[in-house]
Symmetry: C2
């Protein structure tokens, strides 16, 4: 599947796939207090893009997104959320895909299905940075993590897609308290200090929070279980470790 | 445009439209403490459906939704929000559209574009019930308001679409305080009592709220302007009238 000349997606007529419909995935990881996303690089073209794919005729759209995530990260059971359909005419530009195919030795006809107008469904996913094993797709040369604060120029409207994904993540983290476990679990180790949880929030929200009110709010949710203190051997007072309580909000999905 | 035999959408090959992509609109109105939505009826078939349409090749997807709203309601500048792409395989069922076309004297070939698998983008809209003038589309016989609590059986997955629209509206009303003006304005008269505002909230949320805490929350938002008392001549104390303050959150959109 990984050799471009036999990838089904590159057949000229798009047979077997829904026409004009793509998916794009903003896959977030958290490492060293940086929010990162996975990007594909197409060498010899200078192009970078979000991982994504197309929807098979015998496949649900959400399943196509899950398939892309498993293929790009090696991880199953990823927290995944559909957030927007990008459908402006202005996003139609055949040049990048033509350049990518040309760089792979394919000379697509003007009628090639990948050069027509596509709408794309945006998904965001949260994955454990330490467990993901990024893997390129049929057309890309590599798939790697990039700091959200230092992204290369992205093709088409992919920067807009990243921005909207981040906005959705922020709203959900801020307002949908029931989703906290799903939002935070893949981004944090199994046990964490209140400071580490606050760091994650601050990084996603892009702003500093007051320590005392953050702690009060988090504890008031009733979904954190306090464990032993974390003894670091340092001069500071050892902080408590926490984890998400079993069954506290287990039925939320 | 309103005669089925000349409607562009019914051409067999779907020329001029994006293939496999539909839009469906859940258009909410509020009247006599009932939340209502607009439905199309296809006589002689027993079928009811959400208003919607297809996307022209030279049109943004969001603009196609706006076009459908203007055509169905006669209103411009409607509050409109895209909320989900419905893309399961299981929603593909050519029978209802075949029945609708047959009832109109059209015998579609099996390859007719409208009988293929479609994904649909769900939008919800809030309109002023008293100002909307519902108008059927090319294939339907009528377009009318139905109480959300007494909907007829809807075709395809349209009931699921209504349910998801209502869930989104509830979350937005509850959490996105900045959107209150946009959410409530088309559903309420220009001036309203606190009781009328609470009624709207209770109807959308499907639950009773405590009067004192509701009033405190609404006033704390700082976007309501208190006007004169509403003198009804009844035995009760006359309640104050309110309206949304100019410029208070005017830049939110």
């Amino acid at each position: 599947m990984n050799h471009p000349f036999i990838a089904e997606e590159i057949r000229a007529n798009g047979q077997g796939f829904l026409p004009g419909l793509a998916i794009d995935c903003v896959i977030f990881g958290f490492h060293q207090n940086q929010l990162k996303i996975l990007l594909l690089e197409y060498r010899n073209t200078g192009l970078f893009a979000l991982p994504g794919g197309f929807v098979r005729e015998d496949e649900d759209v959400n399943d196509a997104a899950r398939r892309a995530l498993v293929e790009r990260t090696g991880l199953q059971d990823i927290y995944l959320e559909q957030f927007y359909l990008f459908g402006d005419q202005s996003r139609h530009n055949p040049a990048p895909l033509r350049a990518i195919m040309t760089a792979k030795g394919i000379e697509p006809a003007d009628s090639h299905w990948l050069l027509r107008r596509f709408v794309t469904v945006g998904y965001y996913a949260l994955v454990d940075f330490t467990k993901a094993v990024p893997k390129a797709d049929a057309l890309a040369d590599s798939c790697d993590w990039y700091d959200l604060t230092h992204l290369p120029v992205l093709m088409l409207d992919h920067k807009t897609i990243v921005q909207k994904a981040l906005e959705t993540l922020r709203v959900n983290l801020d307002q949908r308290q029931m989703g906290l476990r799903h939002l935070a679990t893949p981004l944090l180790p199994e046990t964490f200090t209140m400071g580490e949880l606050q760091n994650l929030y601050e990084t996603i929200l892009g702003q500093k929070l007051r320590r005392t009110s953050f702690q009060r709010k988090m504890l008031s949710l009733g979904i954190l279980e306090r464990l032993d203190k974390k003894y670091s051997g340092g001069a500071h007072k050892a902080p408590y470790l926490y984890r998400f309580a079993e069954n506290a909000i287990g039925s939320q999905n």
